[in-house]
Structures are given as structure tokens and as C-alpha cells.
Symmetry: C2
Subunit: 373 residues, 2 copies
């Protein structure tokens, strides 16, 4: 393996599994910023005229056939259903039963519920994973049990890789809590409601073929539209896309641990003492017991000091929604939500808006919101 | 000029101004459906770190310089400000003053207010126009006074041409009634409010450089987002982007002419007698005295017969909004709105949603809404 020194003096490989690697060249260097974006194939509209093809298919296997999914291809998934997701296993199981192998999975994230993938890695159905891996799959892969090197990217980095053509998706499977027969989809209605579908937007735009998988087919047009029919080839209705109790994250209660509360307390105080604590500020806290405690305490400080934030950048929780409804925070920008109150606010509040991942943190966009925090 | 026979037996040229033409081959033939979409250059995010470039520029001329706009390039505009638009003239005047010539204009539509363009065609600043031309410019060009052949495309056809690379836009100028300093923009707040910015969305996605022009710069983040900061290079604040009285269309009153009312009456009756008149139906009527009368009468029929429409496809008017608020129409899909009540509904109602032109009628999308009407 050939090694070169990067700008931090660390030796790094120049190639891995046949993939050329670019050494780190500094925080604001951008050696990949050249050339043009990936260009998806020109699709044709489904006119639904006499004899025209309908988008709704009978099941996942029919979708696999229709999309031409074959050995060695890359398939993608979003993780809005978190540890309650049924769709990843459903699709990979079907691929295995159909004898497809050497797949690359490109999920935005995997969770403990995806443990069955381990058997598919062992049997050769899955050859590579490019995406976050929480739980057993992550552990299995970390111990060197996958034949290829896993690639973990940031949320924004994944969008960049797709847009720039470094990560080509052959077929994207988009779990949708609500969809119509033409593929318009959102995450705010139905038994598996999860909020935005922001992680899946880039997959829908750039994958060669796009399949929406839903357990809640509604009359056209499904509104609001997170994933547009213009990006969708097929729609599959299944019994359940996930387990509602596990879709809602387990980390949405404020911690009661004194040690953690202490950490939250000094974190909130640190923010209050920093120059960023001012009218028009913004912050991002997400879920997890400590983060929630910080959100709440920061809100208390702001109420006391008469300071109003311009926005919170999600993941959004009920504690963020409470500050928003109280007027302490003016707007909510949201890539994912973590509890039912946050889903309701995302669904109903005009200034609680979805931010696709390119808007969140794509360095090769013309300006993403992390630059404005 | 070489002529060939198209599928309707009509002789048509195979080339015009050096541009290869494809003869019509039938309603559902699609000879252009091949290859890949256009691939815009990979942009770099504006990180706004120490010394980083800000997006807000002083004026239009600075934007012309920064974008590298030169002789022979193509610049584009949307027509949401209709006959009240100031931005087209503002930009082309500035180009003329800077000595730029041989421009191709690619507006979605021009109106009588754009009459000053005639002088710019005569003087060689403008060499070609690709877009609808209502009023004096249309008349001038129709009489053969432009050195090249104008190209008129449908709303959906224009999107297809841009996406497929047949119409390359060098710089898009996007008039925005509301925008922030990072380029997020909408059309629902401010003195020049016009509703959606749906015509400009494709320009923002595919143009090499994108300039938002606004008379209402608000604190980041500007919500809702019709044009995202991720597509925008520069923002220019000007005194006024348009005349509010002329942005609102003049054709938003129901006709009082007996002849026109008679036409409306038989049109509405015809719809009522057709097999398309049923629960879950949809329709598109737009503005204009007769259309408005049809909308109203169709609503009366539906109320009487207990029939509910799934959606109206915009342009949306107050008469459509009234049916929607009454529950006779379930949802509104909207590419443009024609009056202040419709703007308010578009701004405030969750099921009154923006449809970019690719969603409206792009034959090379994976399914647009005109197929579902």
C-alpha cells in the first residue's frame, strides 16, 4: 500500500479497494472542487395514457426486477425510521432470495434493527457498505469482517459524493410514511410518521431508479411533497414500513443523571458566556438526554435575558418546538425530528421547514446552513 | 434550407441558426429521450469564514462582473412579476451600459412592460430570445426584426430543454419578493409579493451562476424556501423589483360580457356532462374573465351535486381558493397565483403547495402532474 503524508503530517494511503483517495490538505482546501456534477440518465414521463405503465407495483421483488437491480449494484436507503425501520431488511432479504450478490449498500445510517445484514455480508449478498453503522453491523464491520473497506461520510459529505459522482446509486429505496400512486411522498401522515424525508432527497434526485415503499397510499396528490413524483419510478405498498414505537427515538427524555445534568449545565453556561449568545443567534442541539437538558436551560437563559434566536437547526425535539411556539426561537430548520410533538409541529407550522441534506451541510452547494450557524 | 417531412406530412427544416431540429414523430414519440441530463459545474460553498466572500453585492453591475457575464452568453428570468417586472429591463440596461452584446435572453415570459428590449435588439445587445413574448416585443420579433429565430417553448418544454442541456443558461437573474443574505428566497412576503417562484426553480438549479435580486432582504433564514441558498451565488438588493399593482394580473375579474358569459356557461356545462366530472376529479382554469366564470360555475355544480375535486392545478385565483376553503376542492397545486387572496392562501394554507415547472409538465421527469389531471 502506497502511503503519502497529508497536510497534518500523517501517513495515509492513496488507494483503497481500487478507489483513489485524496489526502487531507487543510480545513478550507477543496481539492475535489472541479469538473461537473453527476448527470443522471434522461428519464421519460409516465403519461398514463391508454396502455401506459402504472407506477404501483405488487411487491418489492417486482420492483427489483423492474429496476434491473443486479449483482454488484449500489442500493440506497434513508434512516428516518431509525431503529424501527423494516425497509432495509425487506429489500436486502428479497435480493438474497432472488440470488443477487455483491451489493453495495449506501444507507444514510444503519441501526441495531439491521443486525440481519450481518448474515448477508457473510453470504456475499452484501459486499460493501457506505454509510453510518450504529449497533451490531457497525461492530461486525469494525472487526474487519466485511471483504471491503467501509466508507463513513458526514451527512453533507454523502450528498457531495452523490452529486459529484463519487457515489453512484443504481436503485434508491425510499421508505415513505405517506405516498400517492405517482410517487409523491412525505413523512408526516400515517402510522409510521417520522417527519421530514430530508435524507432521501438527494438519492431520489440522482439514483438511476427510485422506488418509494409505503404503508400508507393516499389519493393523489400527496401533500406536502418531500419526495416529488418527478423523481420516482415505482411505488410499492407494503403492510408496514416500520415499528412506530421504535421510529420515535429512545433518547428524547431529559437526563436525570446528576453527572449528565452537570455536564448539560456547564455546556449551557459556556454558550451563555460565549460571544455567540446574542439576539439573532442560532444553535443545533439534537436529541439525547444531555442535549435536551442544554436546550431547555438555554431557553431559560434566553427568556430571562430577552434574547431571541433566529433559528434552531434540527434534529428537532419537543423542547425546541416549545421554545419556537413561545417565540423565543423564530424559526426551525429541520432535517429530522425525534418525537411526536416535533412531527406535529413540522407538519403544521409554516416556519418549521424541511432542509434537505444539501441545504444542511453540502460543501459543494453554493451555501449550506451550517455556514450560517 | 433542407426540409424533411414530419409524421403529419408537413415539410419542416432540419436546421435553424446552426441548431439541429428534430421533426415531430407523433404525440407519444420521444426522440430526445436519450443520454444524460446536463451536469452543472461543481460549485463551492461560501463558508463565510475569516476573509470569506459574502454573497450580497452592491448592485446589478457588480453582479454582472462577478458572474463573468460576457458577449454571447445566455441570461434567464422568470415571469412571476408579470407586467409589473422591473428586473429584466434593469439587467439588460446594465449589460448595455457595460458594452455587452449578442446576448440570448431566456425568460419564461415577457410582457408589455419589457418594450425597452426592442431598442436592445436593434442595437445588438440582444441577439436571440428563447421564451414567450406577450406584447410589443412579441410583435416586433414576429415581424422578423430579430437577427435570429426566436424559440417559444411550453412551460414544461423549457424545463426539459434546460435539464437536457438544449438550453444552457450562463447566468440566471431571479427576482425575489423576499430573500436573505445567503440567497434563500420566496415570493410570499414583501411589497412585491407574487406567490410561488416556481418558474425560476429550474434556472437556479442548472444555470452556471445564479443571482437573486430582491427589494426585501430579511434576516436569515428566509422561510419558506422556494429558491434555496444552495443554488444561489449572489444576492443584490435594489429599491424595487416591480410595480405591485401590475404584478397582480389584470385578468382576475369575472367577465360581464354576455357573449363571454355564454361561452363560460357552455364550457362549464360541457365539463359537467363529461365523464371527467366525478368525485376525485381535478381541473385547471387559470386567470382571465371566462376562465374565472367557468371556475365559479363549476363550483356551483359541484356544490349542488356533492362532488369533491382532489385538486385544482394552478394558476390559482381567489375563486379557486374559495372552493378550496369551502372544502369542495381538497388541495391546490400551484405554479403561479394571480391575485392577493390567492397569494395569502398560498402563503398560509398547508395544502396549497408550490409545483416547480418540472412537476407541472416536464416530459423528461419521471411523472408530472399534467399526466394526472
Amino acid at each position: 500500500m502506497k502511503l503519502v503524508e497529508n497536510s497534518l503530517g500523517r501517513l495515509v494511503p492513496t488507494e483503497m479497494d481500487g478507489r483513489k483517495l485524496t489526502p487531507f490538505q487543510g480545513a478550507f482546501a477543496d481539492p475535489l472542487a472541479k469538473g461537473h456534477r453527476a448527470a443522471p440518465p434522461v428519464p421519460q414521463s409516465h403519461p398514463l395514457h391508454e396502455g401506459g405503465e402504472k407506477k404501483v407495483l405488487k411487491n418489492i421483488k417486482q420492483a427489483i426486477k423492474k429496476t434491473g437491480l443486479k449483482d454488484g449494484m449500489t442500493i440506497s436507503f434513508h434512516h428516518h425510521l431509525r431503529n424501527g425501520d423494516y425497509v432495509v431488511d425487506m429489500v436486502v432479504d428479497a435480493c438474497a432470495e432472488m440470488g443477487i450478490k455483491d451489493l453495495t449498500l449506501a444507507p444514510t445510517a444503519l441501526f441495531p434493527c439491521h443486525e440481519p445484514l450481518i448474515e448477508h455480508i457473510k453470504s456475499g449478498v452484501v459486499r460493501n457498505i457506505q454509510g453510518s453503522m450504529n449497533g451490531p453491523v457497525g461492530k461486525f464491520v469494525s472487526y474487519g469482517n466485511m471483504p471491503t473497506c467501509a466508507i463513513l461520510r458526514t451527512h453533507g459529505g454523502r450528498v457531495r459524493a452523490i452529486e459529484d459522482g463519487d457515489l453512484h446509486i443504481d436503485v434508491a429505496f425510499i421508505a415513505a410514511p405517506c405516498a400517492d400512486d405517482y410517487g409523491n411522498a412525505n413523512g408526516v401522515y400515517g402510522p409510521s410518521a417520522c417527519g421530514p424525508l430530508a435524507y432521501g432527497a438527494i438519492d431520489a434526485q440522482y439514483a438511476d431508479k427510485v422506488v418509494v415503499v409505503t404503508d400508507n397510499l393516499v389519493r393523489y396528490p400527496c401533500l406536502p411533497i418531500s419526495i416529488p413524483s418527478t423523481d420516482v419510478d415505482y411505488v410499492v405498498e407494503v403492510d408496514k414500513i416500520g415499528d412506530p414505537n421504535l421510529i420515535i427515538s429512545g433518547t428524547t427524555r431529559i437526563t436525570r443523571s446528576p453527572a449528565r445534568l452537570y455536564i448539560a449545565n456547564i455546556a449551557a453556561k459556556f454558550i451563555k458566556e460565549s460571544p455567540y449568545y446574542r439576539d439573532g443567534m442560532s444553535f443545533q442541539t439534537g436529541a439525547g438526554g444531555i442535549s435536551l437538558a442544554v436546550t431547555k436551560q438555554l431557553g431559560d437563559y434566553m427568556r430571562e435575558d430577552g434574547i431571541r434566536a433566529a433559528f434552531i437547526n434540527g434534529g428537532i425535539t419537543q423542547f425546541a418546538v416549545e421554545l419556537f411556539h413561545e417565540g423565543i426561537v423564530e424559526k426551525l430548520l429541520d432535517g429530522q425530528v425525534f418525537d411526536t410533538k416535533a412531527i406535529a409541529s413540522f407538519r403544521d407550522d409554516l416556519w418549521h421547514c424541511e432542509t434537505p441534506m444539501t441545504m444542511y451541510a453540502n460543501i459543494h452547494s453554493k451555501g449550506c446552513l451550517v455556514n450560517k450557524q
